[in-house]
Symmetry: C2
C-alpha cells in the first residue's frame, strides 16, 4: 500500500457492510455513515443482549443507534446525552435491582422494543424503524433475530455477558468465551441481502473487541459463510493501539487467553475472513507469511474528524484492495 | 347524631377497612392512616388498571401507594412529586404512544410490578411488598387479583376506562358503565380476612367516584357479599360538596345517567351496603324513609389537617353507630 492513498477521495460507489460491537465500533460506524450515508449497513452484535427488569436490552444496538443519531453521551461513553437517573432512584426505593444503570431517556428504547417484540415484530424490523425514526441514514441490523448469548467462563463460574462486563467490571479472569444458541442461530434476510448484494463494494470489521463483540457475530454459521464466500474486499481495523486497547478489556482478555497482544494476533483471529488489516501508527506488523495486506494509520478516534478520517482511510484501503483484485 | 361528637377522640380500638378509588379516596385514606396506622386496610379499585406500552399500570393502587407514603404530587393531583418526564420525551422521539403520561420516577413502579407479575407473584403480594418498602403502615390490597376492567359505554362506542378518562378527558357522554370480567372475579384471601376479622370495627367507603371507582369493587360478588353480611357499621362519605364534585366527573356522570346530584342519590346507590352517610355542611339530606344515619361535617380535604379531621369524624360516626347497634 502506498502511504499517500489517504490523500485522495475514498471510493464511495457501491455499498458497504460494517460488523460492529459497541462503543469503539460505533465510532467508526459514525465516520463511515458520514461518508456513505444510506450506502452503509451496520450489522450489530447481539451477544450482549439480555432481559433485565422484564425489559429486552440490546446494549450494542442501542450504542449504535445513539451514536449514529448523535444522541450518545460523549464523555460517559454509553447511553444518551442529557440523561437523568430518576427511574433508577425510584427502583432502588422499591427494592428492585439496580446493578445495571438505565437512564430515564434510554428507558424508552427498552420499553418500546420490549413491547414491539412481544407484539410479534422482529428485532430487525423494529431496529430499522427506530433508526428511521431517529433520522439515521445507515441501515442498522442485528446479526440475528434469534437468541444468542455471550457466556464468559471464569474461575467464578460461567457468567452472562452483562454480569461479567457490568456487574463484575471484567474483573474475573476469562478462561473461555462461548455463545449460547449460536449453533441454532440464523442470520436474517436483511443481513443476507446486504452481504450478497451485487452492489456491495466492501466489508469492514470495526475495531470492536474481537472476542466479545465480533466473535458472537461470526458464531452465526450462515453469516460467517457469507463472509468467507465474499467477492469483495473485507478488512478489519485492529482494536490495539501501541499494545493497548482504547477502552474495554480487549488486552486483558488476550493476555488471559494467552494470545500475544499484537496486530498479528488480530490478523490470525480473522484469518479467512479479511483481506486487509488496518493497524495503528504506533504498532508494526511483520507481514511475512501473513495472508493479509496491512495499512498503517492513526486509528485513535477522539472526535468526529478523526472518525471520518479513519473511515476515509478504510474506504481508500478497500478501494486499493479492490483494484489489486480485479 | 349530636354535632359535638367530633370534639371527642375517635374510637381507635379494632381495625377498619376502607374501600378506595384514586385521588379523593386516597386523601381520606391518608387521614385514616394518620390515626389508625397498621389498623387500617385499604381495599383499592382495580377497574382502572390497564396494560400500556407493555407495562401493567394500576392507577388507583399507585395513587394510594404514593399518597400513603407521602410521595405524591400535591398540586398535580396524581403521580409522584419531583417528577421528570424524560422517558416520555424519548418515547415521543421513537414514535411511541404518549397519550398516557408516565413520569420517570413513577415508571419504576410499573416496570417492577410488571416484572413481578410475569414472574408469577400476585398483585396482592407485590402491592403489599411495595407498601412495606415505601414505609406505609396501612395494609393496601387490590380488590381482586383477577382481571376486571371498567368499560364506559358512550355514543362513540365502548371505551376502556383510561381511554375515556385520560385520552378523551371524560368528554363523551356516559350511557352506561360495566365491568368486564366482574362475573368471574374473586376477591382475595387478604381482603376476605380483613372484612371478616373478629377485630373489625368498621367499614368506610371513601369519597371516591361511586360509579367509576367504588362500583368496580362492588361488582366483585364475593366481596359485595362480605359487605352485605357485615356485623360492624359501614359508612360512606358523599363525594358531593354543595352539589358539585371536588374533582373528576362524578357530577357530570350523575347528570348523564339521570341521577339527581344529591346526597340522597349516594345513599340510594349504596343501599344495603352502608349504615351511615357523611355529607358536607353545604348539603342537606332529608332522612325521612332513608335507611341510613347521616352525619354532616366539612368534607373538603385541602391539607393533612382537614384529612385527619375528616378521618376523625368518620371514626367517631362509626363509634356512634356501633354504640347504637349494640
Amino acid at each position: 500500500m502506498s502511504p499517500d492513498m489517504t490523500a485522495g477521495d475514498p471510493p464511495v460507489h457501491g455499498e458497504f457492510v460494517a460488523l460492529c460491537g459497541g462503543v469503539g465500533g460505533a465510532k467508526l460506524a459514525l465516520g463511515l455513515q458520514h461518508i456513505l450515508g444510506q450506502k452503509l449497513t451496520v450489522v450489530v452484535n447481539i451477544g450482549d443482549d439480555f432481559d433485565h427488569l422484564g425489559l429486552h436490552i440490546c446494549p450494542d444496538i442501542d450504542t449504535v443507534l445513539y451514536t449514529l443519531s448523535s444522541l450518545s453521551d460523549q464523555s460517559r461513553g454509553w447511553g444518551r446525552a442529557d440523561e437523568t437517573w430518576h427511574f433508577m432512584e425510584a427502583m432502588k426505593g422499591l427494592g428492585g435491582e439496580t446493578w445495571f444503570q438505565l437512564g430515564d431517556r434510554d428507558l424508552a428504547l427498552h420499553v418500546e422494543r420490549t413491547r414491539r417484540l412481544r407484539s410479534g415484530e422482529s428485532l430487525t424490523d423494529l431496529t430499522a424503524a427506530f433508526a428511521k425514526q431517529l433520522g439515521i441514514r445507515a441501515q442498522i441490523y442485528p446479526a440475528s433475530d434469534d437468541v444468542l448469548r455471550t457466556m464468559v467462563h471464569t474461575p467464578d463460574g460461567v457468567l452472562e455477558f452483562q454480569r461479567y462486563f457490568v456487574e463484575r467490571r471484567c474483573e474475573p479472569k476469562v478462561k473461555r468465551i462461548d455463545f449460547q444458541g449460536a449453533a441454532q442461530a440464523q442470520t436474517t434476510p436483511a443481513v443476507e441481502r446486504a452481504l450478497s448484494s451485487e452492489t456491495l463494494s466492501g466489508i469492514i470489521i470495526c475495531p470492536s473487541n474481537p472476542y466479545l463483540s465480533i466473535d458472537p457475530i461470526l458464531a452465526i454459521e450462515p453469516l460467517k459463510d457469507l463472509l468467507e464466500s465474499r467477492r469483495v474486499p473485507s478488512i478489519a481495523i485492529s482494536p490495539i493501539i501501541g499494545g493497548k486497547a482504547v477502552k474495554g478489556p480487549t488486552v486483558k482478555i488476550m493476555m488471559e487467553l494467552g494470545i500475544g497482544v499484537t496486530p498479528r494476533s488480530i490478523a490470525h483471529h480473522y484469518a479467512g475472513l479479511i483481506d486487509g488489516l488496518v493497524i495503528d501508527d504506533q504498532d508494526a506488523m511483520d507481514t511475512e507469511g501473513a495472508d493479509v495486506e496491512v495499512f498503517t494509520t492513526d486509528t485513535l478516534m477522539i472526535d468526529l474528524d478523526t472518525r471520518v478520517n479513519l473511515a476515509r482511510s478504510v474506504l481508500a484501503f478497500i478501494g486499493e484492495l479492490s483494484s489489486a483484485k480485479s
